[in-house]
């Protein structure tokens, strides 16, 4: 095992090389863990919806709680108009949550610790929300850069700030998730390395720290999935209900 704490983020291909139009699309360990997450989600939902009981079983209750959790999150932030996007937000939340949680298992790979994955999500959401805004409001959607009740003198500056903040949304959204996951896993690895190098004598201190950090990382894994989903809801809200 390499001591390099960044080694865990290495991507290597599994199986044959797949090249389409000169682009390498090989199946990698990242793809494998995406598949793991997806499979786990499907198994969970399959068991969660297998029985239709009035008094739910435990797994059914969990799936319904998850549903109600996401439903409440969407209705609180984006209102009733966001109902058609419920499935997307639900899938997004549960996928990121499972990827983060699977990443917490030792020797596993954290899909969301790669900037390209989170960036793909963020850009997709950004482009989708922007198109949605223009489709619903037409050119009035540009009003999102002109907050109401701002003095005319300040308006140009505010507009520039608003445009920058709007355009930086995909970056902040993707870097937040990616950096959190990467930093957490790097720290866990570093402290794990300290336990080995300090040995039986002084290794206990980084070990306790490592245990505490694992708890924190599980919290962060959930929290970042939640934050990602809720920010998506907020962006969606801006596009659906234009009131800035």
């Amino acid at each position: 095992m390499a001591a390099n704490p960044m080694h865990q983020f290495n991507v290597h291909k599994i199986g044959p090389e797949i090249k389409i139009g000169g682009i390498d699309l090989s199946f990698t360990n990242a793809s494998l863990f995406m598949l793991f997450s997806a499979a786990l989600i499907l198994i969970f939902l399959l068991f969660g919806t297998k029985e239709k009981k009035i008094v739910p079983s435990k797994i059914q209750l969990i799936s319904e709680m998850l549903y109600n959790f996401v439903a409440k999150m969407i209705s609180d932030t984006a209102g009733k108009k966001a109902k058609p996007y419920f499935s997307f937000i639900f899938s997004l939340f549960i996928f990121i949550l499972f990827c983060n949680m699977i990443g917490m298992l030792p020797y596993s790979f954290t899909v969301t610790s790669h900037i390209i994955v989170t960036l793909a999500f963020a850009v997709f959401i950004f482009v989708g929300v922007t198109i949605l805004g223009f489709v619903i409001h037409g050119f009035k959607y540009l009003k999102i850069f002109v907050p109401s009740g701002v003095p005319a003198v300040l308006l140009p500056i505010i507009m520039v700030i608003e445009i920058i903040s709007y355009l930086s949304r995909p970056i902040s959204l993707s870097v937040r998730l990616f950096a959190n996951m990467m930093a957490g896993h790097t720290m866990l690895k570093v402290f794990g390395g300290f336990v080995i190098s300090l040995g039986l004598v002084a290794g206990w201190l980084p070990l306790t720290f490592s245990i505490a950090l694992t708890g924190l990382e599980i919290l962060v894994a959930f929290l970042q999935a939640y934050v990602f989903a809720i920010l998506t809801c907020i962006y969606l809200n801006d596009a659906l209900n234009l009131h800035h």
């Binding site: 960044m6 080694h7 983020f9 290495n10 991507v11 291909k13 797949i18 682009i23 390498d24 699309l25 090989s26 199946f27 990698t28 990242a30 793809s31 995406m34 598949l35 997806a38 989600i41 499907l42 939902l45 969660g48 919806t49 239709k52 009035i54 739910p56 059914q60 799936s63 319904e64 549903y67 109600n68 419920f86 499935s87 997307f88 639900f90 899938s91 549960i94 996928f95 899909v111 610790s113 790669h114 900037i115 390209i116 994955v117 793909a120 999500f121 870097v175 937040r176 990616f178 950096a179 959190n180 990467m182 930093a183 957490g184 790097t186 720290m187 924190l216 962060v220």
Partner: protein, 188 residues
């Protein structure tokens, strides 16, 4: 804290050597970027379709069914409660009516009884009065009869005594006069 540390590491590595995976962050090695996005798109869109078409409707249907059941049950319970209240009211009305009619019957029968008693009393009193009057008449008659009889007896006794003493009869009318005179004195 976590976020800041992560971001700083990211910036540091990004500034140092952007595309050197071996010495820095494997995340910035673009070799498998296309592959990652490609597989992410496939996997995420497939679970999105499965969730949107199968699982969300299932969960929603189940939750709705439960809420429906609960609402229906509550409605039914309310209906039953209303019916029970109605029945209770009906019962109370019936009881009230029965009480009233019982009272009425009681009053009526009491009145009738009183009247009966009154008439019977009056009749009896009348009869008693009549009887008393008859009795008085009879007593009067008896009184008169007895006094005349007493007179007769007295007259006979007197005439017998006189006959025994004097050996001869006395004028009967004079004896009668004397006796009636004496009895008059007793009478008053």
């Amino acid at each position: 804290m976590n976020k800041i540390v992560g971001f700083l590491t990211f910036l540091l590595f990004a500034a140092n050597n952007l595309f050197a995976a071996e010495s820095g962050m494997p995340q910035l090695d673009p070799t498998y970027w296309a592959s990652q996005v490609f597989w992410l798109a496939i996997i995420f869109s497939s679970i999105y379709i499965l969730i949107a078409k199968i699982f969300i409707p299932k969960i929603k249907g189940n939750i709705d069914a439960r809420e429906d059941k609960i609402r229906k049950d509550i409605e039914e319970a309310n209906l039953l409660k209303e019916e029970a209240d109605k029945k209770l009211k009906e019962y109370n009305v019936l009881i009230e009516e029965a009480k009233l009619s019982a009272k009425k019957i009681l009053l009526d029968s009491r009145k009738k009884l009183n009247e009966d008693i009154q008439t019977k009393k009056e009749q009896v009193e009348k009869e008693i009065q009549k009887e008393i009057k008859n009795a008085e008449k009879e007593i009067q008659k008896l009184k008169i009869n007895s006094s005349s009889k007493v007179n007769l007896i007295s007259e006979e006794i007197v005439s017998n005594i006189i006959k025994d003493i004097f050996g001869e009869d006395l004028n009967k009318s004079s004896i009668k006069a004397t006796v009636s005179e004496i009895t008059k004195g007793y009478k008053n």
